[in-house]
Symmetry: none
DNA sequence: GATGAATGAGTCTTCATTCAT
DNA sequence: TATGAATGAAGACTCATTCAT
């Protein structure tokens, strides 16, 4: 489970005068990052389980096995941990998506799309807690968070909509309202993830069956 | 708008004496119901706007223009209003759905489905605040609430899945994993509602265009 | 069970012009007194059972079967009912005590004392709820009430102490610190009443056995 | 003064790291105990003065000079302080009572009883507030508290009754209903304590005079 | 860095009392 | 006189955050 993007750990001010022995500072940084991870993991588990509001700082401290003050040494507030978790997770998802390459010689667009989907599903599967948080809690927490998540989905929709339009231009897809269909596709995905990844912890093959089903559903529809 | 389950109304002090002037008691009951509505409306607006946790009882009092005690005269707790709102809304949605009639002479199933969809969309459109609450807040509030909403959606999925299987048996639809496709359809719907009803307050025609688009998407798919 | 001293009922302003038919006003007064009694009885039962603070006005209304406003038509406050009950009860007890008659030809002092005691015990037995209230709740409610009850007991102590000193002067009793002994006697009585009247609802004979036991205890002591 | 049952102290966060400076932890514990005492003392004073219900948490905070949260750091609720105070006081009283030793060579039983009495009176004298609370407030607060206090007195009565029966068997005391007489004795004691210790803050000699008086009263009675 | 006692603003809820009908 | 909806002051308790050690 990757834990990228800890700005405080990497960007901290390192007083050079103190670095007597090479490696001392880096050891401190490593410890600091460890602590941070400890907190993040505890918070993630609890947020996913009980929700944001029903998780108290006290709960996190207990779960992480640290003291109150220590928490505030690493995060500014309870909300900061939440944001950190969400930002990181969104980044991880974003980084899984490759733009569809339409140059000659590249794999067929459909294959590329399925690969994107598959990579994203892998990330979601590997962190069910965060997936649950993203789908259940992140919306409705507060204007700021709503905006962030909405922005994320908007970008996804733009991507999907673009792909649809490209498909139409290429004569692969029938004409349709690309915005609406992109939304429908995104919604399908969310719902299916909720059921197969968050609620049941489905095995890889099962998830792949589900992916194929909704892809076929999206492409061929239900008739006949 | 139905006003179910008012404990105070049923358990309240019933005047043992004779109803002096005809209509005096019924007027009191009407006023009582009005007050209740006043509170519900205030709470609904605020919950939709700020979320459950960021709405204090104080906010509701202010919005409704009543005193603290008055609130508790009509509802047991902040949570009770929320539950009341959600329960009532779910009931309203449920009541819009008619089982598809496959007897000879009945309208084609597809038409019936579209009518169902249209009636549900009307309810959702007519109460954007509650739609927003249902889609954003009700999940992730609390185990109890989660269970209630999950149960609602589960019933919807059963309905959809059943319809799909029937369509398959009737040779109208191609074979597919009805559970997965039902989820996909539900997800599409949710997402589309979120965009066109909750975010933008789309006009009726716009909504109908959207309905047609996702129905066609679901039935014909994207190819060709 | 006597219900004396309702100032509002007896002292109420009666507009003479209204008294069309003789007896109309008195009927109103009777009804008023009845209502008052209704409230008193409900309150007494509840105060005895649950204590003053754990009895709400709502409880009293329910028990008495009247409406909120009606309560305040008869009593100024919750506390006023309590005071009314206690005052009345203390009066009833006081009225049972006759000063010991030492004139020649009168019954022996000891017999008079036992008669006093017996009459008081009858009152206590006949209203266990008020006895419980007096012994358990009236002390410690509040400065005012404490003062009232303390004043009552002080008068009792003065009476007892006077009797003791008289007995000493008459050569019947041995010299002793009359104040202390009066207190001891009062305390014995209270405790015994608590056990035999409040906790168990002892029959008359049992109570008389108890009276004889503590009288003998007080007079003869335990030695030999 | 014993400080039993501090849930926060035992369940608190125990520093997992090494105790850097010898005594640092124990100093923290000492400070913690001090705070607790501070709260207890403030609460005791106020409960004794104004009663349980007329003392608000706010009052206690003011009197103790601490903040709201600090109170709840040491006690679960207002009621918890009260219970803690009463439990501790009852324990202190109980611990003063030694079973009467009737083996040959032991001091005469009467002397032992007087010593017990004297020790108990010392405890009561040394904490007038708690004595007042025990005699005035603890009864009538609540079923739970009533039961606790009643149980305490029941044990005292058992002890006294047993002593009386032993005295009778040894031929020292005349036959009597030991239960009734034990109650009378307990009641005498309570009343006398109320007057001489709670109301007036009598000096030691005065209290001893009172003890002697009621002992003589109990043993020799009043006749002659 | 790590600790955890202290803080106090903020929240929900109760309930005695008032008053228009 | 009787009613009961409305009131709002007052209460207990929580919990994210700070800071001295």
């Amino acid at each position: 489970m990757k834990e990228a993007g800890d700005p405080a750990a990497s960007g901290g001010q390192v007083p050079s005068s103190v670095e007597h022995v090479d490696g001392r500072v880096s050891r401190a940084q490593r410890l600091r990052a460890q602590r941070r991870q400890q907190v993040r993991q505890a918070a993630r588990r609890l947020f996913a389980q009980r929700g944001y509001h029903d998780t108290s700082i006290q709960d996190i401290l207990q779960e992480a096995g640290i003291a109150r003050g220590t928490f505030y040494l690493h995060f500014d507030s309870k909300r900061a941990v939440f944001d950190d978790l969400v930002d990181d997770f969104l980044d991880r998802i974003r980084s899984m998506v490759r733009r569809v390459d339409t140059s000659p010689g590249a794999p067929p667009p459909l294959v590329q799309i399925e690969q994107n989907l598959s990579r994203v599903m892998d990330v979601l599967s590997s962190d069910r807690d965060m997936t649950r948080i993203l789908l259940h809690l992140a919306q409705g927490l507060d204007k700021d968070c709503d905006a962030k998540v909405a922005d994320f989905y908007d970008r996804v929709l733009l991507l999907l909509g673009g792909a649809l339009e490209q498909g139409q231009r290429m004569g692969l897809l029938r004409p349709c309202d690309s915005r609406v269909v992109a939304q429908a596709a995104l919604g399908s995905l969310k719902e299916v993830v909720l059921h197969w990844i968050v609620r049941r912890d489905s095995a890889r093959e099962e998830v792949e069956h589900v992916i194929r089903e909704i892809l076929r559903f999206a492409l061929e529809g239900l008739f006949r």
